[in-house]
Amino acid sequence: MRHSLEPGARRTRGVPGCTAIIIRKRSQNLNCLHVFPLQEWKSLEILAHIKTRKQAAVTMSKRKAKDSHLTVGDCVSQAQRLLRDRFCRQQLPAGPAGVEPQHKHLLELLRRTAVHGESNSVLIVGPRGAGKTMLLNCVLKELLEDSEVKKNVLLVQLNGLLQTDDRVALKEITRQLQLENVVGDKVFGSFAENLAFLLEALKKGDRSSSRPVLFILDEFDLFAHHKNQTLLYNLFDISQSAQTPVAVVGLTCRLDVLELLEKRVKSRFSHRQIHLLSPLGFERYLHCVRQQLSLPPDVPERRFSQEWNASVEALCEDKMAEAALKKHFNSSKDFRSLHMLLMLALSRVTVSNPTIRPADLLEASRLCTADAKANIVHGLSILELCLIIAMKHLNDIYDGEPFNFQMVHNEFKKFIQRKSHSVHNFEKPVVIKAFEHLQQLELIRSVDGSSATKTQKEYQLMKLLLGHGQIMEALQKYPQCPTDVKQWAVSSFG
């Protein structure tokens, strides 16, 4: 019998100390789920027990195959798992790299709230992938290591993408503060009651006696679009008055976020902003790549990890790889896109090819930077390709004015009559179908989206969403493209 443990025997929020383990029995035909609500410690114990048994079984089988040495395949898969975890940011880095002053500022700020009960508000601003959440999580981790703080602080995490209006946000806050059980389902009668209730709760506290609440608002700019900015006003108002101590931490990538705030809300915000704009040089970038790719000395096996790390060193020295990385760096300093690149390279590592070679990196880079639409064009039929070429000619003739199906069809018919020998003369319904397919692929787009239903399909005005260069490039790479079609494409007039 094989038990596969779902990765999240995960703690359900709001019900502390109670978890559910889901064990799926695959050996039996019925794919049933058993859910056991258990005390946390117990569940962890069980988890550990099952894990060790599983590991024991694995090592037993390994020992049979090859005494006490992991195969290359095992090493590779373990290394891949470790690195994937790293790239998918399931692990926090050991410390804040390159943002130490910001880290210190934020840590001090939150610590003052937690320890002194001082209310604060702060915004962390930085472009996407600059490490805002990473910084905050590092700070929180460090903060909560302090037992004095941990016992005292309440944490409320909101995300502008999830809490799309204040009603949802208030419910979420109540839930995360675990106030909902205080009044049963009564609170959630109406939005107004909920707001009054929460304000009441927060108003009753004072600096010295009640537990500080840390509000973390991810995608802060989206909260500013809520009606009247009620939530923000109230949070900032609490932070500026003698009520329950709160710290409001907003994360956003918009530089103009303060201009979004209404004047009263803005006045109540403390105007503390932590900018994550580090002028990252290529040297440091390379260093990061090296760090991200290298394995710890003893995982999975000393010799393997030594070899691996040496190959990483070699990779970073390599001219071609460096050029690829440089190109990537020039395009964006975002660490997420770097992780994407490295992930693609990593997945090309196999048993026969147990290290990352420069060629892998180049291939990954090519995949990353490939033009998405050119890829789509490669998959089109000849008829669809012909239509696109016809549209391109129309664009040339009419200088980018929108066209309709009838125009495209005429252009296509002209081409067929004049010189086509290889392209079959398709019926009009077939051509319409092809045209619609192009629309579905969003290679063409109707100019006025809403009134599309009014006009007949053939006469809807369309625009081509492909550039001249893109079409020509795609044609070059199109497999077995008929020469007359190619010629038609390059000819200056239809």
Partner: protein, 737 residues
């Protein structure tokens, strides 16, 4: 029924014949005390109370109920006896236990009914606590009750003699006047005391009338006699009132509870007599009221004076949260009041000078005084004071940019007025605050006002109707209500009926409502209000000017209050900078706080940091006011920088002059030509040209930071691009390196 009941009372009476007398008298005393307390509390009897009374009053008009109530009093007396025998146990709980046991099983079905009138009688003065929770309140009340006792004794000592001399002659009057035949018929021959308990129910009905009389005859001069006592009581109360709950609970608790305690103390026959008389006299007062006796000769007024200040702690604005809390969840028990759990470890207090300064500079720190707003304070104060004194209504519109101390000044005014009314310099009034930002819908204003006024919960329409009735109809006893409407502009609706009502109520004859409306813009009445609303708002307006740098400096200095943490120049720099930008005091304080942090971090020894100097303030200012666009451009990746440059290049290519440039930049450029420019620039820079997808990605990244303004990305190639920073800024930022 009466027979069985008498038997009960007899059987309990047998328990201690010697104590029966004192027990009876004390119960009467307690009843009369209840009564007198209710009566002596003209202003504290909130509408909620009145409502409760009204609710219970029809019940009392029923004859059967009256009889029942009377009978119950018998039982109650017996219990009193028992209670006095067991001095250590809380008497209230005991009361219930004993009252139930002697009853026969057949009558048990009536228990609920029987106990109910008793309870409503006794609890009616309490404001917030629902009947069933009185055990709690008695427990809480234990701590404070001796004080109340003392206060009563003082009051009585003062007036006791007079009262006796005055009351006794009138004593005979009530009995013939009492018209309810049934009551007398039902009255058991044994209990003269019963009369007190039966009459007290009618008394409750009369209550409102009586209030009116009392307020009508309270000129300031007559109160002076009681002020000495009042002062002492207040002092004691303040010592005790660590939390408002305790006080308010004690209010609830002492009503039903204190008398029994008094029992224990009143051992001498003489005392009993006095109290007996007291009880009787109270009895008469009710009737006296009916016989239109002039209020001036009424002696208990002094007691009322003595009590009035004692109530005040529960009337101060700090009271409102507790009021609000209870009705927030009416059906749930009282424990359901929301609160953030308290911390396990106490908050640390500021350690060094800078931390101390930071704590003082926090906006939430309540300053000792509000400097620089003396004139505005005076204006608002005299406005509200005159309205409260005259018992009329009015509106005032207060405007000013955020952070100029509008709300703070009004709060300060109210605090002072409340202090004055504590001192009996002006009549008591109620303060209610609503905030347009703290409600989800303008119509919620009605709900919130009603809730704060009467603890009632209603839908918006119903609340509006109730409030309209309340402010529209003459009520015999009504204290002035001061309503602060913060963020008025958010109460705007299409029909403007919320605003209309808010400003219409004060103009009604009997409303006695003062509305202080606060908003940011000076011309709000002209701009958004329709004529009938603006006209009702009137012309009493005040505008708070932004603080000048001197004022800001004064504010900081007064807040710091001799904590030496800042250099003089640094303070001046901050206040000048803020005054030049907005005159927002909050901003000023925030900058100062940030400067202390910077100072702390930069100082070499953390234990004894130096003063906050110019450099620290400069750094804080830089952090808060500098635009980050240029830094963002400098930190952008090479392709992003190139893209910005190609946007500018495309504008140049189109050959737009500076004037038309604005317009064109407003309309934006389509992506493809910009991308062509980008490709060209890439070749110039010796970089490999990027694909369209990548180009779009670069463009989107710039759009996410708002360096560029973009149309939604679903437009793909057709999206328009425009710069969100000035062309010069981009060129400047890119030229440096």
């Amino acid at each position: 029924m009466p027979g069985s009941h008498r038997r009960v009372s007899m059987s309990t009476g047998k328990l201690g014949a010697s104590e029966a007398e004192s027990g009876h008298s004390s119960s009467k005393l307690s009843a009369s005390k209840d009564l007198s307390r209710v009566r002596r509390r003209p202003s504290s009897s909130t509408p909620g109370v009145r409502k409760k009374l009204e609710l219970s009053s029809p019940v009392k008009k029923l004859n059967r109920q009256e009889v029942l109530g009377e009978l119950l009093d018998d039982v109650f007396e017996a219990e009193k006896e028992l209670a006095s025998k067991l001095p250590s146990s809380p008497p209230r709980i005991l009361t219930l236990n004993v009252s139930l046991t002697p009853l026969r099983p057949s009558t048990e079905s009536h228990n609920g009914i029987r106990i109910a009138p008793l309870k409503t009688c006794r609890i009616s003065p309490s404001r917030t606590a629902p009947p069933l929770q009185d055990h709690d309140s008695t427990r809480d009340g234990l701590g404070v009750s001796p004080l109340v006792e003392e206060e009563e004794e003082e009051a009585e000592a003062e007036t006791g003699v007079k009262r006796r001399s005055l009351r006794t002659p009138v004593r005979k009057q009530p009995t013939p006047k009492k018209s309810s035949v049934l009551v007398r018929k039902a009255r058991t021959p044994s209990s003269r005391k019963d009369s007190s308990s039966t009459t007290r129910e009618p008394a409750l009905v009369i209550l409102p009338e009586e209030h009116a009389e009392q307020t009508a005859m309270t000129p300031r001069s007559k109160r002076k006699s009681a002020q000495l006592v009042a002062g002492r009581i207040r002092k004691q109360l303040k010592m005790l009132s660590t939390s408002q709950y305790l006080v308010s609970d004690s209010d609830d608790g002492d009503d039903g509870f204190v008398p029994s305690k008094k029992d224990k103390e009143s051992s001498s026959e003489d005392d009993d007599e006095v109290e007996d008389l007291d009880g009787e006299s109270d009895d008469e007062i009710i009737v006296v009221k009916r016989s239109r006796r002039t209020a001036g000769s009424r002696t208990p007024r002094s007691t009322q004076k003595a009590r009035a200040p004692a109530r005040t702690p529960s009337k101060t604005p700090s009271k409102t949260p507790s009021k609000k809390a209870a009705p927030g969840t009416p059906r749930t028990p009282r424990h359901a009041t929301p609160s953030i759990p308290s911390r396990s470890l106490p908050a640390r207090n500021p350690g060094n000078v800078l931390e101390e300064a930071r704590a003082r500079l926090h906006v939430s720190a309540v300053p000792e005084s509000l400097p620089c707003r003396e004139q505005e304070f005076q204006d608002i104060y005299s406005f509200v004071e005159s309205k409260v004194m005259d018992g009329t209504g009015g509106c005032m519109y207060i405007s000013g940019v955020p952070g100029t101390g509008k709300t703070a000044t009004v709060h300060e005014v109210i605090r002072c007025l409340q202090h004055a009314s504590d001192q009996d310099e002006i009549p008591a009034f109620r303060f209610i605050e609503i905030n347009g930002m703290k409600m989800t819908d303008p119509h919620q204003a009605y709900v919130q006002i009603l809730q704060k006024l009467t603890d009632q919960k209603a839908t918006a329409e119903h609340a509006a109707a109730l409030l309209d009735k309340r402010f529209g109809n003459p009520a015999p006893k009504k204290e002035t209500t001061v309503l602060l409407v913060d963020e008025l502009d958010l109460l705007w609706t299409r029909k403007q009926n919320v605003m209309y009502n808010l400003f219409d109520w004060p103009t009604r004859r009997h409303a006695r409502l003062v509305v202080l409306a606060i908003a940011n813009t000076m011309d709000l009445p002209e701009r958004i209000m329709i004529n009938r609303v603006a006209s009702r708002l009137g012309l009493t307006r005040m505008s708070f000017q932004p603080y000048s740098f001197k004022q800001l400096q004064q504010i900081i200095t007064s807040r710091l209050n001799r904590v030496k943490a800042f250099e003089e120049d640094a303070l001046q720099l901050v206040s000048r900078k803020v005054a030049a930008l907005s005159g927002d005091a909050r901003r000023c304080l925030d900058i100062c706080r940030r400067a202390t942090e910077i100072c702390e971090q930069s100082s070499s020894q953390p234990s004894a940091p130096g003063l906050v100097g110019m450099s620290h303030v400069m750094e804080a200012l830089e952090e808060m006011f500098s635009s980050s666009y240029i830094a963002a451009i400098r930190c952008a990746s090479l392709q992003e920088q190139l893209f910005l440059r190609s946007v500018i290049a495309e504008f140049r290519r189109l050959g737009l002059e500076e004037a038309t440039f604005q317009q064109a930049s407003y309309q934006g450029l389509t992506f493809p030509p910009v991308f062509v420019q980008h490709q060209a620039l890439c070749r110039v820079e010796g970089l490999q040209p990027i694909s369209v997808s990548e180009g779009l990605a670069v463009c989107q990244r710039l759009g996410a930071c708002r360096l560029l303004l973009l149309e939604p990305s679903r437009l793909d190639l057709l999206l328009r691009v425009r710069l969100n920073v000035s062309q010069d800024d981009v060129l400047y930022a890119l030229k440096e390196d």
